[in-house]
């Protein structure tokens, strides 16, 4: 296969080159436009001014075997940690309650993959709520009054 690819220039006759070109064009045409757009739009996240907070705890990953899961999985909780900040989240009914440590008042942005942004306030003790919980994957960006930003990874509830 590798050898074959190297012979494209020299070894392929016109018929083969034309057939290969046809295959290459068909492969590209088979990809739906929305899929390409999704990829292009992802660039909006390039160099976003924020420190990245990684998922360090997810109650879903902590699941016990199926027998006991029904009792234990009623509350979903997640923790995101960055160098300077920890974000704890808990799903309660249709809302997402959270707290930022160390506590800092500010604004929390909710970014969906479609590019929509909504905001919620973070109070002096670092508490906030997101309601309703976005249906699609989303990420949270916490901005403090001192100008520092922290961005979580993608969250799916």
């Amino acid at each position: 296969m590798h050898g074959e690819a190297s012979q494209v220039r020299n070894g392929w006759d016109d018929e083969r080159l034309l057939a290969a070109l046809s295959e290459a064009m068909k492969a590209r045409a088979a990809v739906p436009e929305w899929f390409i757009e999704t990829g292009k739009n992802a660039f909006a996240w390039h160099n976003i001014d924020a420190e990245l907070a990684r998922l360090t705890y997810d109650s879903n990953e902590d699941r016990l075997p199926a027998v006991t899961r029904a009792e234990t999985a009623s509350i979903r909780s997640l923790t995101f940690t960055s160098e300077h900040l920890t974000l704890e989240l808990e799903v309660t009914g249709n809302s997402l309650l959270g707290q930022v440590f160390p506590a800092r008042a500010g604004v929390l942005e909710i970014h969906t993959r479609a590019g929509e942004i909504s905001t919620t306030e973070v109070d002096e003790i670092g508490c906030f709520s997101v309601e309703p919980i976005p249906a699609s994957p989303f990420r949270l960006r916490s901005s403090a009054s001192d100008g520092t930003h922290v961005l979580t990874g993608w969250i799916t509830i």
Binding site: G3, S6, Q7, V8, D14, E15, L17, L21, V31
Partner: protein, 201 residues
């Protein structure tokens, strides 16, 4: 192929904030990501989910890729991993099982490797085609359309005399063969000297 300077340049430029370079990377490798998703027989909804994850991960990794030229391999591996995540999650939800079982589709590494090679070759062919003069692009497009245009139809649409179509086709293909985009495919390969015979008619 490992050091395809085009890929390295696109990654470097995108990493520096060049949106056009990013778009070109997506155009170049979307079919690789998409084809692997279809190998896992994902629904359109899941394909979109995986696609978003893969491209977002790449955006975050752009400046950190140790070997930018190895991007296709990175994309393929990341896509396969994301597909498996989606398939496993769906399986868990449906079966209340404890994870993987026999019904989870497993796609062999060899299949993924093959897809990487095909994607590289296809990307190089499309790049070589894009460098051709418009008249060559038009002629070759008509020849590879499905169904292909007859010489009479080509003559009607382009005005190229029927007797000149064959020689022009050969010249356009020869031009493609000599393009630097295709040259990248052969570089660094020990079989570069495995030249075939004269290009056929």
């Amino acid at each position: 192929m490992r050091d395809d300077p085009r890929v390295v340049s696109l990654v470097t430029r995108a990493s520096g904030g060049d949106q056009g370079a990013w778009h070109e990377l997506v155009e170049r490798y979307a079919s690789l990501v998409y084809t692997i998703c279809t190998r896992y027989r994902l629904s359109n909804h899941d394909i979109e989910d995986v696609g978003q994850s893969v491209w977002l991960l790449l955006v975050e990794q752009l400046g950190k890729l140790r070997e930018p030229a190895a991007l296709p391999g990175w994309l393929a591996t990341t896509t396969a991993r994301e597909c498996l995540r989606v398939v496993t999650a769906a399986n868990k939800a449906e079966c209340l099982g404890t994870g993987l079982d026999d019904s989870v589709l497993f796609v062999d590494n060899a299949v993924i490797d093959e897809e990487i090679l095909v994607a590289e070759r296809n990307a190089a062919l499309r790049a070589a085609f894009a460098e051709l003069p418009p008249r060559c692009q038009q002629l070759l497009s008509m020849l590879i359309s499905d169904p292909p245009h007859s010489y009479t139809e080509i003559n009607a649409k382009t005005g190229i005399p029927v007797g000149s179509i064959g020689p022009q086709r050969a010249r356009c293909l020869e031009r493609m063969r000599r393009s630097s985009a295709l040259a990248a495919l052969g570089e660094g390969d020990e079989k570069i000297d495995a030249r075939g015979g004269e290009p056929g008619a």
